[in-house]
Structures are given as C-alpha cells and as structure tokens.
Symmetry: C2
Amino acid sequence: MNSAAIIHCELCQQSGGEVVWDDPHCRVVLIAGPEGHAFPGFCRVIWRAHVCEMGDLLYQQREHLMKIVFLTEMALRRLIQPDKINLASLGNMTPHLHWHVIPRWHNDSHFPAPIWAAPRRAEPQRIRPERDAMHAAMAAALIEFFGAHSTFNSP
Amino acid sequence: MNSAAIIHCELCQQSGGEVVWDDPHCRVVLIAGPEGHAFPGFCRVIWRAHVCEMGDLLYQQREHLMKIVFLTEMALRRLIQPDKINLASLGNMTPHLHWHVIPRWHNDSHFPAPIWAAPRRAEPQRIRPERDAMHAAMAAALIEFFGAHSTFNSP
C-alpha cells in the first residue's frame, strides 16, 4: 500500500469514534454524531492496517476480524436489546476495511429500510450507551466467547 | 422457530435467485431483476434454516457461512473485476439470515453511496454474468480455497 493512500485515509489517521476495545489487529469504536444519535450503540470494527477488501486478508485475519464483529453484535444485543442487527462492510467512501454493526429498532428513523435509504419517520428518543457500559459488555462477550471457544489464535 | 414464520418467509419458500452453488447449509444465488441489472453479478448467500441473526448461529455455522460469503467475493472479483465489493447482512424486511455480496463500480448508478441510497446517475450498460460462468467461478474459488486451507469442517 502506498504511503499517500495512508496519509489521506481518515481511518489510518483517526480512531473513527470512541474506542471501546482494541487489540494489535483491529479496534471497536462507538459512533457519535448524527448516526450515533439515530442508532444508539452503532459501532464500527476497524481493521488496523490499510486494506481494502475482506478478500485481501489472509484466512486467519478474516476469521479474527469476523470474530470481533460477531462479539460486538453479541455485546450490543445483550446491552441494549435492539429488534435487529445490521452488519455491513462497504468502504466505497473510505476504502479501509471496516464493519458497521448497527442496532435497529422497529420504530427507528429508517426501519425496515437500510440506514442509508431515505428516513421514514422522526427519531424516537433513546439512551445512547456510554463508553464504559459498552466496554464492559464487550469484555463480558469476549470472556464468554473465548471461554466457550478456547482456540483463539491471533492472525 | 414457529412454523407460521417459515410458511410466510420468502427465503424458506423460494430460492431467492438462480442457484450457482449450494450445500446442506446454505446456497449462493445470482440476483435477477432490477438489482441484478444495476449491479451485475449481485449475489446473495442464504442460510438454509430460518435463523434471524449471525449471533443465533453456532460458532462453526457462522464460520461456514462466512467462508462461503468470502468465496463468493473471491469468485466475483475474479470473474468480473468490480472496483469494490460491498457485503451486508441486514434482514429487516426478510429476517432470514442472508448476505448481500454486491459488486460495485465507480460509475455505477449509486457509487460511492450504498445501493440502498438514492441513485446518482443512470446505469451504464454492463454484461451480467451467466449462471454457468458464475458456477464455474465459484467452483474454481472453492477448489483454490480448500486446497490452501484443508480444514474445511461442515457445521
């Protein structure tokens, strides 16, 4: 990867949100701003290195990243009980590998449409999980997951 | 899962597209109609059983499904060389676990927005891959993948 791409990549230069968990390979961030307001608990799981597609990772790297994505889903479901979880890796605007983990509710501003479609209604008030609560939920999910599946190999 | 949910679920009752690969756990379908026209090669990977979220699967089932999602990405990139791949598991309308594997081009109708946003321009003409070509690309990706990673365990 050339250094110009990295210098101009916002996910190489910035955290992309409040970090609630990280390891040498990826980080989980809680999204603030309008997206975090509309979809409280909205997280992104961001691969550390500047890589474009899932298929550009090695098999063990893909497996590691998806474990963290599903742990984030698990933590969010337990913490805030959304009606649905949406997962997406798009990267058209920011081609640095990241996953959206989006809690959805039947009465949220866009449901049942994807959050990128036009809104259908006003946003209901919801409490946004705080960094510490999300951090604790991630930690609990990690412990449960790796207690049940002890073969956690770093990529 | 109650039987009423299954009777009314279109992914329990129908294939959801032209099947290009399947096994006892999931199938890969090539999407026809307007979505397939706008994004040639658009595939969905559909879990066979009526399950709602990735977190509702067992670990080995999740791993199996994601292997097939990434193989589909690999097959599409090789066959049609899109500029980007978009992956998403939403299921707000049809809460039966399925992954969208969407080839994107810099000049497609929505780029760089997600395909669920408002279109930005007319669709350029593109050749849609045929079932046989997609089938062959999937087979080649499977052989390469499982040649390199021989520990393929069914869930």
